[in-house]
């Protein structure tokens, strides 16, 4: 049995376990059978369908989006430390989202999609700015250069958000908790809002799985192998930014998922992007469902922002990858 097949089996199993735990564990223990048992207790059914299930699905979608976007950015930039958070793309998306809330923007024909669309625009614009700036600094776009550029943009965009919050006073206090990342109390409407964009973004990335493999050897090499680099790069950047923007719009900034998941996936199942992308998607979903579960149970009844948990796992992993890459002799 191939490594990849084992990967799919294990990952799907992990996802099912995560969903099971996410649905049944909490202040009130609910059996998973409530999901399909029509004669189940009405209260339990309400908890599962109105509170737990949308939360689990949303966490899963956000985790999956961030993880597959991270995997794609890493492949595209040949940089194992790249992810929506470290690149500053998440911050860009936040600015887009906060701006929407701050100015109360509502574009009529976009309806409920106004927030994710603006978030995505913020993400895409930031992505292009970060890459262009890094290229200006250093044509070879070394690993450190991109990450430093990401930090510069994150800091700057972070201050822009702080400024907006300060200007609004009380009513946007909720934005702060949203910024730290959370999937609580969102309900099905958020799932609805995110789903189409996540589908398109994931499809865009998945269509470029083989191109990403070629681009790992450099854009020139990919071009020689017959990849239309310009077009493919654009597809990947837009796909990744779309996923990031959507994730941020529905859950705030949740860091490091896009770093940890693809890295673990590669470590366990190899670095062929034909499998890294789908496996990251599945594992990202599982990881974030578990992280969300931990965040709401660890100091119950208080809820910890989910971003705290992911950063707690993510930062050491980030340090580890950085250390290993430098040991290897750089990129």
């Amino acid at each position: 049995m191939s490594k990849a097949l084992i990967g799919y089996i294990l990952s799907i199993a992990a996802l099912l376990v995560a969903i099971w735990l996410g649905v049944s564990v909490g202040s009130v223990k609910v059996p998973i059978s409530t999901l399909w048992d029509t004669g189940a207790d009405a209260i339990a059914s309400n908890i599962v369908w109105k509170i737990r299930m949308p939360r689990v699905v949303l966490a899963g979608l956000v985790g999956a989006s961030l993880a597959i976007a991270g995997a794609a950015f890493q492949g595209l930039l040949k940089n194992p430390l790249a992810d929506p958070y470290t690149l500053g793309v998440s911050s860009g998306a936040s600015v887009g989202a906060v701006t929407t809330l701050f100015f109360g923007i509502s574009v009529p024909f976009l309806g409920i999609f106004t927030l994710p669309v603006f978030s995505m625009i913020g993400a895409i614009v930031t992505m292009f700015l970060v890459i262009s700036f890094a290229k200006l600094v250093d044509r070879a776009m070394k690993m450190e250069t991109i990450i430093l550029t990401g930090i510069i943009f994150s800091s700057f965009l972070g201050s822009v958000i702080s400024l907006m919050i300060a200007l609004t006073g009380e009513e946007l206090r909720q934005i702060i908790s949203w910024l730290l990342g959370s999937v609580s109390m969102r309900g099905w409407s958020f799932v609805q809002m995110a789903l189409p964009f996540i589908f398109i973004g994931t499809l865009l990335l998945w269509l470029n799985r083989r191109e990403l493999n070629a681009m790992l050897f450099g854009e020139e090499r990919a071009q020689h192998l017959g990849v239309n680099v310009k077009k493919r790069k654009m597809m990947i950047l837009i796909g990744g930014s779309m996923l990031t923007g959507t994730a941020v719009a529905v859950s705030g900034t949740i860091g490091f998922v896009g770093l940890v998941v693809p890295h673990m996936t590669r470590l366990l199942f190899g670095s062929d992007n034909r499998h890294v992308l789908p496996l990251s998607f599945i594992n990202g979903a599982a990881l974030l469902i578990i992280c969300d579960l931990v965040s709401r149970t660890i100091i119950a009844p208080t809820e910890l922002p989910i971003g705290v948990i992911t950063a707690f796992i993510g930062a050491p992993v980030f340090a580890f990858i950085f250390f290993r890459q430098r040991k290897k002799g750089g990129i």
Binding site: K78, N79, M143, R210, G218, L225, G226, V229, S271
Partner: protein, 489 residues
């Protein structure tokens, strides 16, 4: 197949390649040469479509490069750039399989039998089957290079562009790789354009060479038209000498260093010669450039020790080479620094003389046995077997001899020797005519290659006069001693 027309291009408005034109036929191998920064890699990038060209056109099968889509182009042309490191590791097989990218299409792009065959075949050609499932970053630079060549071969394109393909490879793998590529050209009609750092490899393997200088084409032509001393020296700004390849009709170059060698001035005199019952030995402090027809280390070379050894008349000459090697080794003479000759006459009878001249001096040594004297003009009439009984002539020159002077010195010496035989009335016993030499005569010209440059050594040159006189005198004297010893007089 591939036509480049007046192409100019470079980075950011700065033209690096200027007005380059050439064409390559199907199955031809073109080598691109030039010093660092002459625009070789840039030219390759323009041809492969990575860099935008400012003007001119690149035509593949008569169609402009820009008219091809990325995939179509990759089906026509495979490119192997210089090796770069990468962040993530693939297996060797996955890496080579990427070469099949342009041949796959559709949403799920399934792996066909043709893809599989191409990958397996490419691995076989580069001899990397045993690495198939290893991770690329665990291989050495040379092994990685071969993987990337295999990737390019798997692409199965009729044109192959290579940028210094032998980088990181040891000579065995350089040869294997270039043999493989050349076979692709010869048997499968693959058209090859390759950048080379190594002029000798380029000359050896390519049908034609293109020499670049400051972004322009200096010359394009067959290796013998491009690899010429003056041309290479002007473009590369380094002193070189050209010489023929021993097996192929291709020129090779050798670097001539400008660093002074730590070599004491040496002057060869008669005192350097030692004569014993067994040997005439001459040992120089530094190696002399030598041209000889000796038993051991004949041809050209640099040697320090010169041995003329006496052997018995019944010596078995069938095995002479190995026996002589053994003999020299037993006496502590280095195999690689010694020129060895044999004679049947008493070495004590060797004639050694020194001749002063304005360029330096010439030392001549002759041992002569004329028992097997032959008249070369009648030799076709009779049957003779090689035997011991030889005239060995050494000419040691204190001076710097040009290549042609070595040959002229040998001619001059031979003529003087023949004259000496005539004077002494030495006859070919079979024909009764005056002999011109013996059946196994040997000659050696060695020069210190220090001091004055001597361009020619014909009979009327200063050195030719000394050689003529010296060889004549010494040979006459040696023959007279030989006759006396044999009781002929």
């Amino acid at each position: 197949m591939l036509k480049v027309e007046n192409v100019s291009g470079g980075y950011d408005r700065q033209l690096i390649v200027k007005n380059v034109s050439f064409h390559v036929e199907k199955g031809e191998m073109l080598g691109i040469l030039g010093p660092n920064g002459s625009g070789k890699s840039t030219l390759l990038k323009v041809i492969s479509g990575i860099l935008h060209k400012e003007s001119g056109d690149v035509l593949i099968d008569g169609k402009s490069l820009t008219a091809y889509s990325s995939k179509e182009l990759a089906k026509k042309m495979a490119v192997l750039p210089q090796l770069h490191s990468h962040a993530f590791s693939h297996t060797v097989r996955d890496t080579i399989a990427l070469g099949r990218y342009p041949h796959q299409s559709g949403l799920f792009s399934s792996w066909s039998d043709e893809d599989e065959t191409a990958v397996v075949e490419a691995m076989k050609q580069m001899g990397i089957e045993r690495y198939e499932h290893q991770m690329l970053d665990l291989l050495s630079g040379g092994e990685q290079q071969r993987v990337f060549v295999a990737q390019a071969l798997a692409q199965a394109a009729p044109i192959l562009l290579l940028d210094e393909p032998t980088n990181h490879l040891d000579i065995a793998h350089q040869k294997q790789l270039l043999d493989t590529i050349k076979t692709q050209a010869n048997e499968n009609g693959i058209t090859i354009v390759s950048i080379f750092h190594d002029i000798n490899l380029a000359s050896l393997y390519c049908d034609r060479l293109l020499l670049m200088d400051q972004g322009e084409v200096k010359i394009i032509g067959a290796p013998h038209e491009v690899v010429m001393k003056e041309q290479i020296e002007t473009v590369y700004k380094a002193r070189v000498s050209t010489n023929p390849h021993p097996e192929r009709p291709k020129p090779q170059i050798t670097i001539l260093p400008d660093v002074k060698e730590k070599r004491n001035e040496q002057l060869i005199t008669i005192e350097n010669f030692q004569v014993t019952d067994e040997l005439v030995v001459f040992q120089a402090e530094n190696q002399l450039k030598t041209w000889s027809s000796a038993v051991i280390n004949a041809g050209t070379g640099w040697y320090r020790t010169f041995v003329n050894r006496r052997v018995d008349a019944r010596y078995n000459i069938d095995n002479a080479q190995t026996e002589m090697q053994q003999y020299l080794a037993n006496r502590g003479y280095s195999e690689t620094e010694t020129v060895g000759m044999m004679t049947a006459v008493y070495t004590k009878d060797a004639i050694i003389k020194e001749y002063e001249a304005d360029f330096g001096s010439v030392v001549v040594m002759v041992t002569a046995g004329v028992g097997n004297a032959v008249d070369v003009s009648k030799a076709y009439e009779v049957e003779a077997f090689p035997a011991i009984g030889t005239i060995n002539t050494w000419i040691i020159v204190n001076g710097e001899l040009a290549e042609e002077a070595f040959i002229q010195a040998v001619i001059t010496a031979t003529e003087a020797k023949t004259k000496a035989l005539a004077f002494e009335q030495v006859k070919d016993p079979r024909t009764g005519t005056i002999a011109t030499g013996t059946s196994t005569d040997s000659v050696l010209v060695a020069a210190t290659q220090q001091g004055k440059h001597i361009p020619y050594a014909g009979p009327i040159t200063e050195i030719g006069k000394k050689i003529g006189l010296g060889v004549y005198e010494c040979t006459v004297e040696a023959i007279q001693i030989y006759k006396k010893a044999k009781g002929w007089e």
